[in-house]
């Protein structure tokens, strides 16, 4: 019965996920505290061609957007498929987690997650090749994210030493 009552207040879409930023300056507790109060969302799985304008249009549907920071390839300084969206209020950011997360932008299902807050330097991909880490290792072909993953580009399937 108690479980049912908790279910009445259930709001799981705004829960903090398992992800923790490894580069965060502070301990786990501090990071979680910031995540629970944050007005900033990380947005992932964007196309490299998705513009700030498109992000602004979509994310404005849950409230007034204070700032958008497009994620950049560290070397090329071009968009590399993620961004940060900062709202003026927590409530607006929560609506984005409930209603924009998991829907499409530029034909791709995008993912939003709480972010502890933008700091200079966090707009860059952390993959070895300059983009995001996930684009280093993925095996699939994604034309909106530079084609094959970086590793797969350097070691195409036919030449892979590990294939038989």
């Amino acid at each position: 019965m108690s479980a049912k009552l908790n279910a009445l207040n259930s709001d799981s879409y705004i829960d903090v996920s398992q992800y923790r930023d490894q580069h965060f300056k502070g301990n786990r507790y501090e990071q979680e505290k910031l995540l629970k109060q944050s007005h900033t969302l990380y947005v992932g799985n964007l196309s490299f061609y998705t513009t700030e304008e498109q992000v602004h249009e979509l994310f404005s549907k849950s409230g007034d957007v204070k700032r958008i920071i497009i994620g950049l390839d560290k070397i090329k300084k071009t968009a590399c498929g993620f961004c940060f969206v900062e709202y003026y209020t927590r409530a607006d950011a929560e609506h984005a987690m409930r209603f924009i997360n998991g829907t499409r932008l530029d034909d791709r299902i995008i993912r939003t997650d709480w972010d502890a807050g933008f700091k200079e330097g966090r707009q860059y991909g952390r993959g070895k090749s300059g983009g995001q880490v996930r684009d280093e290792y993925r095996q699939d072909y994604d034309p909106a994210r530079g084609g094959y993953g970086k590793l797969a580009q350097q070691h195409p399937a036919g030449e892979s030493r590990n294939s038989f």
Partner: protein
Amino acid sequence: MSLQSTSSLESNLEGLAGVLEADLPNYKNKILRILCAVARLLPEKLTVYTTLVGLLNARNYNFGGEFVEAMIRQLKETLKNNLYNEAVYLVRFLSDLVNCHVIAAPSMVAMFENFVSVTQEEDVPQVRSDWFVYVVLSCLPWVGKELYEKKDVEMDRLLSQIEGYLKRRVKTHVPMLQVWTAEKPHPQEEYLDCLWAQIQKLKKDRWQERHILRPYIAFDSVLCEALQHNLPPFTPPGHMPDAQYPMPRVVFRMFDYTDAPEGPVMPGSHSVERFVIEENLHCIIKTHWRERKTCAAQLLSYPGKNKIPLNYHIVEVIFGELFQLPSPPHIDVMYTTLLIELCKLQPGSLPQVLAQATEMLYMRLDTMNTTCIDRLINWFSHHLSNFQFRWSWDDWSDCLTVDLEKPKPKFVKEVLEKSMRLSYHQRIVDIVPPTFSALIPAEPSFIFKYADESASSLPGYAVSITVGNAIKNRASNEEILTILKEVPNPNQEDDDDEGESFNPLKIDVFLQTLLHLAAKSFSHSFSALAKFHEILKTLTDSDEGKLHILKVVYEVWRNHPQMIAVLVDKMIRTQIVDCAAVANWLFSQDMAHEFTRLFIWEILHSTIRKMNKHVQKIQKELEEAKDKLEKQQHKRRDSGDDEDMDKNSEDEEGQLEEQIERLQEKVESAQSEQKNLFLVIFQRFIMLLTEHLVRCETGSVDISTPWYKNCIERLQQIFLMHHVTIQQYMGTLENLLFTAELDHHILAVYQQFCALQL
């Protein structure tokens, strides 16, 4: 607790009743609290939990009595706290407890009689007595039969009183709340009128109601052995001036029995089944709106779904909420996402119903309220962006044959514009047939007056090049201002010695050049505004300066309304322009040709909201400072005779008092600015509308042009979207603006608005 089949539900209930009964000695209060909460928060599962309470009462009479008392206490609390919707659920729960032999029918009738007697009160807002009548009527689908069997004379008297009240009710507010102005194919009925018709029909059918799931019927043999309790006499709490009764509403209908092609028939608009289904679906959304997957699943597993065209009901209820005036119960984007989830769960049937609904809404655009059209535009374009913009545009080619200002082509145009914002220009060109080219939005490119040598004859050309280079070379503000001194002032014969007075050309040259350099993205433009904030503030020191800067922004970005909106937002937030300047600009002659476009109204409403939030923010700061002072004063009083502490305390209090005085001034100034903003807006509307009406009258022309419909409904929209704030200024509005001399068409809007709160 699942509701897969009635037989497992019954055994679940029986089992649960047994467990709870055993727990009563130790956990009675907890169980009471949980059951009360469930009654308040899970109205769609009403009959399941009343059955449970019935079973518990049969096993433990005292518990039943305590539960009823707890419910009455909770009812009083919710009414005190203006939670009128939840109070309805509580009363409905109590009334269904009559069916479960927990509450004696005569005592329920007595409560209803007390409720209906509110209609005899004088000098109370109509919405107050409305609510009490609504509560009684809305319980009757559940308990009408039982009450009539026991107390038919009293019930007849009750219904007759209600009928009398409904006849004398004022219904001025109805046109303002209707989604369509047309009566066909479905009249937008006032909610109490519709419910009354439904109850009348139910009575005619001798209270036979077959839709509601009633688990207690299976337990009748157990329940009828139970002793019943009498509800204590319940006097409705008196009217308090700060009471916020629910606003009246209109019942949204878009489907009837002709629309579902196969399968079960849709219950008629005045059938009680229709009421119960819609009520339950609204309740499910209210409970689960935060979790769209659960919400969609709960909607689709509605008990009794095989007997009704459930998809049609769901789509109708969702659109009903989305189009509700003044505003939807939940944020607009929730409905978009919910519909997408529903399409995912029922890919073989729901998308078709949704497409059918969209087609119907398109066909009825000519009489649809402008605010509702706005929401339809936003919903449809966002929805399409999740489905690769696939749509049978050719089906809508009829819109190409009429004046492009008419609702249908206008709608398509705005949808394509919004769709472009979520994608890009070429995509829109690709998705529509070539015949639609007139409706395709312009490419969102910058229009630079001083672009190239062909502009060399323009007075500002040379300076724009110099300024452009200076900006690129990171010149200081002083250097740039010096360069700008060279710009001649078209408003003056000789140049002002100081160069301080309003010089529109100077603003034009600087801003056009700056924004051109920063045109690449929103972020580039924001950086530019921030970097040259000082210069911009200097240039826009006067009202004329502020107006002109807005003019220039429009000139350069008129193909990119989205950019205009974000720049205006930024300029308000950084105080380069103020809200009144934006309002004056939007209503100016220069913008008249854009007056019916959606982006204009989005900017205006966003501006009003910023003003409102600003006032609220300062008011909050003032409240917090006052609280702090109070705490400080208490501390001093309680701290005893320590002289040092006293002195520090006094200093702190003195500082706080100063701060409070400053904040008080700030609040008054902000409120004055807010009031002025609304006055400007209303004045402008009155001027524009009066001009149009007079012109039509003298020319003996029909006033109902597309422009007029848009304008008068935009005026309504101001009232509806900001009614909470506008309430404060009613006196001024009535005395200064909405006087009896006004044309009755305009005055009607004001009167309808006033009627919403009566």
